[in-house]
């Protein structure tokens, strides 16, 4: 066969076919009966693979998890928007990205009648764009052996005991974004005016503020005692505690921002039934009960699942009443500009 002479034309035709193959749909080799679901990297991806995956499989669908932060999921779907096959069948995001995903026509409204466990969800977790599988409570993670319990975001700047011990990051994550909004409010700003936050950040750069590229790096640095405080979710603190790391969670007296986490059906998914099976598994009492146990400690949205004692130690009824639900419609349009401004402020 190798003796056969290859003409330039046949080589070019072969190469042309190779290049054109993806456009003709040859790459659609994703196994039938499987879905690709984006999940936050780290403990979310791990727990969904080990706890949710087998339940979805028993329903007849292979769950393939693709780790990606909410903004990355949005970026990837927007990049593949012009293609007939989206990058994911299901998204896992917070309201900040849901608003964008709806605006760009990336997700579909769901049919709740296809979810057996829909009626068990808290009313607030039942949205027309998909179920909320939890509400992430954000606040301040701190090492009680190294620093006193912070009461407010403002205290992290005003009290010298925290200087050089706090890790900050930019606008890549919802947790950090909403913290900067709260910091701006504490210094006289608002949800659409973050100037006071940038001003106070600039003043503190010379006081040892540790600026990391993302939240995952902060957790790594925290474990090495490089920082003693960082903006965090309850889940991250529970995760650190589960690994034997000394870490406590402080609810700011100004209120803890809440970030519901929703599952969405991506428009154009070739296997919507598989996505419904995935959603149903994720909101089932059995799965949510397992996810609410250490080390995951995910707040359940299924009303049949009681709060564990450990979760109760993180969140009191008073804390729940004091939760803040950010106005993402105000925040989202400014996010790009804030991100650029953040880089300008922190760049050495």
């Amino acid at each position: 066969m190798l003796n056969r002479k290859l003409s330039r034309r046949s080589v070019m035709a072969g190469l042309g076919g190779l290049v054109a193959a993806p456009m003709l749909g040859v790459s659609r080799a994703r196994a039938a009966g499987s879905i690709v679901a984006a999940a936050f990297p780290g403990s979310w991806e791990d727990s969904y693979r080990t706890i949710v995956g087998p339940v979805v499989k028993s329903a007849g669908t292979e769950l393939v998890l693709a780790p990606a932060l909410a903004q990355d999921q949005l970026a990837r779907l927007r990049a593949s928007q012009s293609q007939s096959r989206p990058a994911y069948d299901a998204m896992m995001v917070s309201p900040g990205q849901t608003t964008d995903a709806i605006a760009h026509g990336l997700i579909e409204k769901i049919d709740p009648s296809k979810l057996k466990n829909w009626s068990k969800l808290l009313p607030a977790a039942q949205t027309e764009w998909g179920p909320n599988v939890t509400v992430e409570i954000t606040g301040i993670a701190y090492n009680p052996k190294l620093v006193p319990k912070p009461k407010t975001y403002r205290e992290l700047f005003d009290n010298p005991v925290y200087h050089g011990k706090v890790g900050w990051s930019g606008f890549g994550s919802n947790t950090a974004t909403i913290a900067w909004v709260e910091i701006a409010k504490a210094f006289g700003g608002s949800e659409d005016n973050l100037s006071p936050a940038f001003k106070i950040l600039a003043e503190h750069l010379n006081k040892g503020a540790v600026i990391t590229s993302n939240n995952q790096q902060q957790m790594a640095l925290y474990q090495q005692n490089e920082i003693a405080v960082f903006i965090s979710t309850v889940g991250n603190v529970a995760n650190l505690r589960g690994r034997g790391v000394e870490c406590d969670f402080a609810h700011p007296t100004t209120g803890s921002p809440a970030l519901p986490v929703a599952l969405h059906l991506v428009k154009g998914s070739p296997n919507p039934d598989g996505v419904y099976q995935y959603m149903d598994a994720a909101i089932s009492a059995d799965v949510q009960r397992q996810l609410s146990m250490p080390p995951n400690e995910v707040l359940p949205t299924n009303t049949d699942v009681p709060l564990t004692d450990s979760l109760k130690s993180f969140i009191s009824d008073a804390d729940i009443k004091n939760l803040i639900y950010p106005n993402w419609a105000k925040i989202n349009p400014n996010r790009a500009a804030w991100s650029a401004e953040f880089d300008r402020v922190v760049k050495k």
């Binding site: 190469l15 990051s169 890549g172 090495q224 005692n225 790009a336 760049k347």
Partner: protein, 276 residues
């Protein structure tokens, strides 16, 4: 290439075209587009009008040169050791050079967090010797990035040099000694010129790898040291500015490409190439 060799290179050629050239052309087209559907140089004009972007570009290239210089300084004694070693010792040096490459860059980068951290061995030793008043973090500065990248990229410099020196006749040194040359003169006029093609090839690899090492730059440098890979990630992942990110990627490709081409041309210079 003879006509009969075409089938052997066709798979590689096809892979290069489909996996590199086609995406590159798409990226190039993307960099000339704007959200309104127009076509032009607006993304490039915006990039070169932005002082932050220019500073990031300058810092990225400067980082590449610093890592090249640092790996050369660290690598030179190892190169000399390799030159003077016997066959068994040479195998050991090659093995030890390759050993770190068996561990992922990400793992090595995170290991450096421990080494350069407040409680790490470097800070503790410096404090105990009285060089610093108390242990402190040695992370989040450019020196740390250069140190970590130098350790990670060192094999990329050493391996081509070792390959060149392995093929070199050591009797040339004996001849120089016979003619009365001292050790420094032999180093400057025999060993280094002989190793030059390998060193230049290593520089090209180290420069390319250091300027594009997203994980090490972001983990060790934090968000205060922004280089082009992070800048591109921000444009895509946070700002969703794909055309702008494509333009930045092309500027990075062009600038590093020009520098690497210059290094490659230098390595083909008759005075250097003849030694290889």
């Amino acid at each position: 290439m003879t006509r009969g060799g075409v089938p052997f290179v066709a798979p590689m050629l096809a892979l290069s075209i489909a996996g590199f050239l086609v995406p590159l052309v798409v990226l190039a087209a993307f960099s000339f587009s704007d959200p309104a559907g127009g076509f032009g140089l607006a993304n490039y004009a915006k990039l070169f009008a932005d002082p932050l972007a220019l500073q990031v570009l300058f810092d990225t290239l400067a980082l590449g040169f610093k890592v090249v210089a640092s790996t050369t300084l660290i690598g030179l004694p190892i190169i000399l050791l390799f030159w003077h070693a016997g066959p068994r010792e040479r195998s050991l040096i090659v093995f030890l050079t390759l050993l770190p490459m068996l561990v992922s860059n990400v793992v090595r980068t995170f290991a450096w967090i421990v080494i350069l951290g407040r409680q790490g061995p470097v800070s503790q030793t410096l404090a105990q010797l009285g060089f610093i008043p108390a242990p402190r973090s040695l992370l989040f500065n450019e020196t740390a990035i250069v140190v970590v990248l130098s350790q990670i990229e060192l094999p990329l410099l050493l391996l081509p040099v070792m390959a060149v020196l392995s093929r070199t006749d050591r009797s040339l040194v004996s001849a120089a000694e016979t003619l009365g040359a001292g050790p420094w003169r032999i180093l400057a006029t025999v060993i280094l010129p002989l190793a030059a093609p390998g060193i230049l090839a290593g520089w090209v690899l180290v420069f390319a790898s250091a300027t594009t090492s997203y994980v090490t730059q972001s983990v060790i440098g934090g968000a205060r040291h922004i280089y082009l890979p992070q800048y591109i990630y921000r444009e895509v992942g946070v700002l969703f500015q794909w055309p702008s990110a494509a333009a930045i990627a092309f500027v990075l490709l062009a600038t590093t490409g020009i520098i690497m081409a210059a290094m490659a041309m230098l390595s083909r210079h008759p005075r250097l190439a003849s030694h290889g």
